[in-house]
Amino acid sequence: MRLEPKPAPPLAILLLYPLGAIVATLVFVSFLVLAAGASPFSVIWLVARGAAGSQFAALETLTRATPLIFTGLAVAVAFRAKLWNIGAEAQLYAGGIVTVVLGTGALPLPQPVLLPVIAIAAMAAGALLLLGPALLKTRFGVDEVVTTLLLNFVVLLFVSMLLEGPLKDPTGLGWPQSSKVVADAQLPRIVTGKRLHYGFVLALAAAVATWVVMKKTVLGYEMRAVGHNPQAARFAGIPVDTVLLKTALLSGGLAALAGFSEVAGLKGNLTLDLSPGYGYSGIVVAMLAMLNPLGVVAAAIFVAGIFVGADAMSRSAGVPSYIADVVVATALLTMVTAILLSRYRVRWR
């Protein structure tokens, strides 16, 4: 068996590859569902209904997709330049910390000014957090996979320290949580009485903006060139190290917006379970989207839907909701295979 490169298919056909990957995923997972003693069709139906079968379900899926869009964009941007940012989780928490610090009354500003100020400060925090590993990479050749991954644990412990100390909510009955942000530092809800907030709109705007950066700007061109062939990029006079540092700033900033959006839009305060691994799921989302910023939106909604739907399904079908993790993991594998097949032709002997 061998692979031969082939010309890129037209966009319409290209879009069939992710669909094929999803179908293949459902087929694979069906075997597990059978093993768990349930009917695959009813389980798939229940997951779909749980994810999008009602207004409540659909809004819940979009709410869950919001942080995934941000972390997915962060990873897509970094991976495009082959900067392996595994630390979106830490950058998310950095954004959350800044939101709580600035949003609990430290800045007496009106809402239309306060929210952008906090968002920008949060982005700066995430950007700076990734700048360190990026500098270590460009200056000393330190592997950023290791440094960004380990920073996740460092930052989480730092958050734990803050929540037991300076940021501890005095009215929190001893729970490790911060005070709530003030009303003016909260993102409004899109539908009154539902959890979906304007962080989702911000995420969509971020996706479009990232798409424009990647496709239309000098920086996006430089990032893609550096990612595809750093040696050729350097030869052509593209400042590879500077591009990597800019990429780090952009990626870290996007991931931090997830923390801002979760605190200011949904949770209101900082806790140690602000993110159930959105930073890591962002990698899956970015890969499912083939690193395309607009695809990230679709991929994030898909992944969020699987998780939300699986929760609902497990309550009625008795199949553990861990099946959602299996679905997402399998989807990642089938998607990577689909990407390969879209670029190469497989020859059997």
Binding site: T217, V218, F235, R347, R349
Partner: protein, 524 residues
């Protein structure tokens, strides 16, 4: 389609018994890559004790054909027979077992292991607790003596010269009882002297009844070494000639489908020095790879040819001129001013056009489009970028301009550059480098692996640039190319430069001695 000439026995079929039995028969081999037909119904026979030269332009299908033969690819149609038995397609092991050995252009040796270990590697059963190398060593010594392939079996590969490494590759094939030897561009890395030695070895091999397929684009070597020449053009067998009954002009014409005229070089008087390197040294690993107090002047309207065996510091010198390598000592002066900041960007800004040695790894970004690749050195100029936004319409227009002006065959400016052939890729790089009319041009192996047509095209463009007054540094392993184009020739050996000689001042043999110069000491 069986086109082997039964008449006129090959001139060098000295001994070896019945020379007229075919050892290898290819029938109707066809291989397609998407719309491209890489091999179109190719049939030929290789006789016992015969040397066939496979001649053809880049993209003509030579490598594809050999890869099919050796089991790396599977043909869409057609069959291969070795020694009368059909060869299982798509299995390199089957090819090895049938007695087919291949010496690749890029060696496949483990640097940190010894010659004997490299040769025995893969022939010993894996479950044996340790290598029994005694027998292997004795066999290698015997093979070395028989075929003039002298090399110390216990030396590590890293300690060997390039010529010696090639001998190891050939020994490796012989050790596995190869009866058919395929050599892919074997002389690209050799000095003229080493090339002579290789040809001597090939004569000994055919005398013992081995058969050889010699892939090359150098006509002189094909004439010197082969009994028969197969010319491939655009995937088809364009012609087959008995070497002794043919001539270089005829073969060149067959290759490109037209007569090749070498460009007339009008004598020009060198102008002002545009680039001066003074006592430039570089750091880096390996003694041969770094520069040792190199002084070089490039003058306006002059081509300076740099000859040398690859790996003697040409890459470092090219890096210094291109801006990718920063000298540890010495100074760079451009148009009378000593440069203080040195980088690829600075080199471009000071008017240096660069054609890199490796067009795949350095010259192009394979997964990006033609348009994205041609703007890579100018994307920040107002022509392509405004307020941080790229003007893709301008980029595509520029790509179309180069495609037209430089006669590039490519489907569209949006095609991934990886899908282009080497020659077309090189034309795009040439267009990108020459479009801003640079006053200094670095042409590092500009025609390596290109067909005759593309080679003469590149030469014409370089001569045009010379006539408009550019100072050109031409680095090439092809001495004939250096001698045909250069106004002055310098030779690099172990990181040092010989003094310059004017056109026609030194013969090939004299240049060859300079190229080998310090190598003799190292090998001793």
């Amino acid at each position: 389609m069986q086109t082997h000439p039964a008449a006129s026995p090959p001139p060098s079929a000295q001994g070896g018994g019945s020379a007229r039995e075919p050892v290898l028969r290819l029938s109707g081999i066809t291989k397609r890559f998407g719309p491209l037909v890489a091999n179109d119904a190719i049939s030929f026979e290789l006789m016992r004790g015969e040397v066939i030269a496979l001649l053809g332009e880049n993209g003509a299908g030579k490598t594809t054909l050999m890869n099919i033969l050796f089991g790396h690819y599977v043909a869409d149609e057609g069959t291969v027979e070795a020694f009368g038995a059909p060869l299982r397609p798509g299995d390199p092991k089957a090819a090895l077992e049938a007695g087919i050995g291949m010496v690749h252009q890029h060696f496949t040796l483990a640097d940190n292991m010894t010659v004997v270990e490299n040769i025995a590697l893969g022939t010993e059963p894996l479950w044996r607790p340790r290598f029994e190398l005694g027998a292997a060593r004795a066999r290698i010594r015997a093979l070395s003596a028989d075929f003039g392939l002298f090399v110390d079996p216990d030396s590590t590969i890293a300690a060997l010269t390039v010529g010696e490494r090639q001998r190891v590759e050939i020994l490796k094939a012989l050790y596995r009882d190869a009866r058919i030897l395929i050599l892919d561009e074997p002389t690209a890395v050799l000095t003229p002297g080493e090339t002579e030695a290789l040809f001597g070895t090939l004569k000994l091999l055919v005398a013992k009844g081995l058969s050889i397929i010699f892939i090359s684009h150098k006509l002189a070597e094909v004439m010197a070494v082969s009994d028969r020449v197969l010319v491939l053009r655009a995937g088809r067998l364009a012609g087959e000639r008995v070497t002794a009954a043919s001539g270089r002009a005829e073969l060149a014409a067959l290759m490109v489908g037209q007569e090749v005229v070498s460009p007339p070089v009008a004598p020009l008087r060198g102008g002002a020095p545009l680039l001066v390197l003074r006592e430039v040294s570089t750091g880096g690993r390996g003694t041969g790879a770094r520069l040792d107090r190199v002084t070089l002047t490039l003058r306006a309207g002059e081509i300076t040819g740099l000859a040398g065996v690859s790996g003697n510091g040409q890459s470092a010198l090219a890096g210094v001129v291109a801006g990718t390598e920063i000298p540890t000592t010495g100074e760079i002066e451009i148009a009378g001013r000593v440069v203080s900041v040195w980088s690829p960007r600075a080199a471009l800004d000071l008017g240096i056009g660069r054609i890199p040695e490796d067009r795949h790894a350095v010259g192009t970004i394979g997964d990006m489009s033609v348009a994205e690749n041609v703007i890579s050195e100018q994307y920040r100029s107002p022509r392509f970028a405004r307020h941080g936004l790229l003007d893709w319409a301008a980029a595509r227009a520029f790509a179309e301009e180069i495609i037209r002006d430089y006669d590039v065959k490519c489907p569209s400016p949006d095609a991934r550059i990886r899908l282009l052939s080497g020659g077309n890729m090189q034309k795009l790089i040439l267009g990108r480098a020459l479009d801003p009319e640079p006053r200094i041009i670095l042409a590092n192996q500009p025609t390596r692996g290109l067909d005759v047509g593309a080679v003469s095209y590149v030469h014409r463009r370089l001569l045009e640039a010379r006539e408009r007054g550019a100072a050109i540094l031409l680095i090439s392993e092809d001495l004939e190319e250096i001698m045909a184009l250069s106004d002055r020739i310098v030779v690099m050996s172990r990181g040092r430069l010989s003094g310059a000689s004017a056109r026609g001042e030194r013969t090939i043999a004299q240049l060859g001695e300079l190229m080998a110069g310090h190598q003799g000491e190292a090998a001793a």
